[in-house]
């Protein structure tokens, strides 16, 4: 029995790994096509993302927000919800964290920083629970609502940061947060902060909640079959709202980490689709918190390496975007991979 479980777990990892290898192989073709040596390009990609402590730190810094948004999407998925609204929840959480960061004055760090983090979580939770509530009470599909709320969050924070809370600089951004609200940099001059520990902790907590608590059992039951869960005495409506709120809180933490760790102020549209990348990360991580961490590190490394590749070679960084897309494509086309690997379904 134990062996059987091990075998299943191992198989869970085969598809993502195969997807990455296939994507890199096809990417090599593209590199040849633009007239560079794929081995050289991949060497740069690897060295610049993992080659020394500084590059590794940059990779982790880029991976941190993806860990949070990946967890957000994965958590929703486990409860049967497709949260495409991580981007919007991220913006609301980020603004809430920034607001606490620059408004509160004179508070010591051990009060100010946690308050800002909690504000960011609550902001994201609030924004996530709206589509959760609409789904639970009115049956409106969460995909529609989360997408719509993305736009509202984007324009709302645009207005807040250029209107009432504009910091007075040339850039559309708020005032800077107080140093007491900022996350600590671990390895200057890289911008890796203690936020990465927060992300790892969040992954562990998500694991505990989903698999080691009664509440998590209820959430997963709703995710697997809401009708059966309802029949079994589980309050589906309550669990739907809760799942979206927690998913939103995780996305809100992604924004919080970006503000308190990286930007130290709210900049209009600072997120380069981190929320949407979270969907890819969750998919590649098989919606498991530990898988999400690994997938986020991989995507962080690809981004770090591609920025360096853009500086050092003539390989366009869009190539890395293609590789990312291919990875997602192959994970989604799991059946195809299994065929290629000549594996029997469920063997």
């Amino acid at each position: 029995m134990q062996n059987r479980i091990r075998a299943v777990r191992w198989q869970e990892m085969v598809t993502p790994l195969a997807a990455v290898i296939l994507a890199l192989a096809i990417g090599a073709g593209f590199i040849l096509f633009v007239g560079e040596n794929p081995l050289t390009a991949y060497k740069i990609l690897f060295v610049e993302s993992f080659g020394n402590l500084r590059n590794l730190a940059t990779t982790l810094q880029r991976a941190t927000p993806l860990m949070f948004t990946g967890l957000a999407v994965a958590f929703g998925y486990r409860a049967g919800l497709f949260n495409i609204g991580a981007e919007g929840q991220l913006y609301i959480g980020a603004f809430a964290a920034a607001w606490v960061g620059f408004t509160l004055t004179g508070a010591p760090r051990f009060i100010h920083l946690p308050l800002a983090i909690i504000a960011g979580m609550l902001g994201g939770a609030l924004w996530g629970s709206i589509p959760g509530y609409l789904k639970a009470k009115l049956g409106v599909h969460e995909v529609i609502n989360t997408i719509m709320l993305n736009f509202i969050a984007l324009y709302l924070t645009d207005w807040l940061a250029t209107g009432p809370f504009h910091g007075g600089s040339w850039v559309p951004e708020t005032a800077r947060i107080k140093p007491a609200a900022a996350l600590t940099r671990l390895y200057p001059p890289t911008r890796l902060t203690t936020g990465v520990f927060l992300a790892l902790l969040a992954a562990f907590v998500v694991y505990l909640v989903l698999w080691k608590t009664r509440q998590g059992y209820e959430l997963r039951a709703v995710g697997l079959n809401p009708d059966a869960a309802e029949y079994g005495g589980i309050n589906v409506a309550r669990n739907t709202v809760l799942a979206m709120a927690i998913s939103g809180a995780l996305a809100g933490l992604a924004g919080t980490e970006q503000i308190l760790g990286l930007h130290n102020r709210f900049i209009v549209r600072f997120s380069s689709d981190l929320g949407f990348m979270g969907i890819a990360v969750a998919l590649l991580g098989k919606n498991h918190p530990f898988g999400v961490i690994l997938a986020a590190v991989l995507f962080g490394a690809l981004q770090t390496g591609s920025a360096a590749m853009d500086r050092l070679t003539s390989v366009p960084r869009e190539l890395i975007t293609i590789i990312q897309a291919l990875i997602i494509f192959f994970v989604a086309a799991e059946y195809l991979i299994r065929r290629i690997l000549r594996m029997k379904e469920g063997a």
Partner: protein
């Protein structure tokens, strides 16, 4: 014999190491603003300056297009570590990161376009956009038939206010009765929004619309073509984008600024401080009216030329919101 040969070889190599930096071409790194290459405006102008320097001065160049604002600092530090002779950053979006990075690398020289960083190792390249905008404002004020003209800005930041204020002052100077409609798109990369605002200004009576909105401005020019009114371009010479519809462009010679700062590296005269490019040195001004010469009466062109001389002599002082 062999040992001697080896010794000579080592000496030659050592000599090469010592001497070669003297003959090596200066290495220049350039980091673009958001939007990157292909914006037909601001970044493309910087690229032209860089390529001109590569061809005419023989410098080695490398450049990078940041994917988002979070990357600016990363690229600045990476280039600083490469030991380049000059790192040029394009756009005020780089300013806050450069304040920190230039302090961390006192031995690397930086240049920033469109903003000021007050460090001895930074050359700040700024433009008198309000004066150039004054001239195109005069053109609009004199050419309008409805006595209503429009301005579409990218983001409402002091730099873009500089364009707006110069434009309004120029229009009123030439035509005190003119009304100027002002709207901001909230972004430099949203042509759809630019088109919407220009159409709405046209519906409210504006027959000439000036944009200072980067990529958003291409929507303004599209709207002018579709609805049959005039547009005025910005930064690069955009007259060619819709010949006959784009009356002129407020040309801002980012290419000249980039070329000049690289030339200072080659000449060994580079120092920190603020370099301002204005009307007098051709840093800002109107385009050559390549497609609109027949549309614009000579009297209008003469009036603009007259005002240009008065700005240079100080007889006309255009308000600068940054001072």
């Amino acid at each position: 014999m062999q040992r001697r040969l080896g010794f000579i070889l080592v000496m030659v190599l050592l000599l090469g190491l010592v001497v070669s930096p003297v003959y090596a071409a200066p290495k220049i790194g350039l980091i673009f603003a958001e939007g990157g290459l292909g914006d037909q405006s601001f970044n493309d102008a910087a690229y032209r300056g860089l390529m001109q320097a590569k061809e005419e001065l023989g410098v080695e160049v490398t450049y990078v297009e940041p994917a988002d604002i979070a990357e600016m600092e990363e690229h600045q530090r990476a280039y600083a570590d490469l030991g380049l002779d000059l790192v040029i950053v394009i756009g005020f979006i780089h300013q806050s990161a450069l304040v920190e990075v230039s302090s961390d690398y006192p031995n690397v020289h930086f240049a920033i376009v469109d903003d000021v960083v007050d460090n001895p190792n930074v050359t700040s390249l700024v433009f008198e956009e309000h004066e150039g905008s004054f001239l195109v404002g005069m053109l609009a004020g004199l050419m309008t038939e409805t006595n209503t003209i429009g301005f579409v800005g990218g983001m409402e930041v002091p730099l873009i206010r500089k364009f707006e204020i110069g434009f309004i002052e120029g229009a009123k100077y030439a035509n005190p009765d003119v009304e100027v409609l002002v709207n901001y798109a909230g972004a430099f990369d949203d042509p759809g929004r630019g088109r919407e605002l220009a159409v709405s200004q046209n519906e409210r009576g504006a027959d000439i619309v000036y944009h200072a909105a980067g990529g958003t401005g291409s929507g303004v020019i599209d709207a002018a073509v579709a609805n049959g009114f005039y547009a005025i371009g910005v930064d690069s010479d955009q007259d060619y984008m819709a010949p006959g519809t784009v009356l002129t462009s407020m040309v801002k010679r980012v290419d000249t600024a980039v070329f000049e700062v690289i030339k200072a590296v080659v000449d060994g005269t580079l120092e920190g401080g603020v370099w301002s490019f204005g009307i007098e040195d051709g840093g800002v001004g109107t385009s050559e009216f390549k497609y609109t010469k027949e549309l614009i009466p000579q009297s209008v062109l003469d009036a603009i030329e007259d005002a240009k001389q008065k700005i240079i002599s100080g007889e006309i002082v255009v308000s600068n919101p940054l001072q």
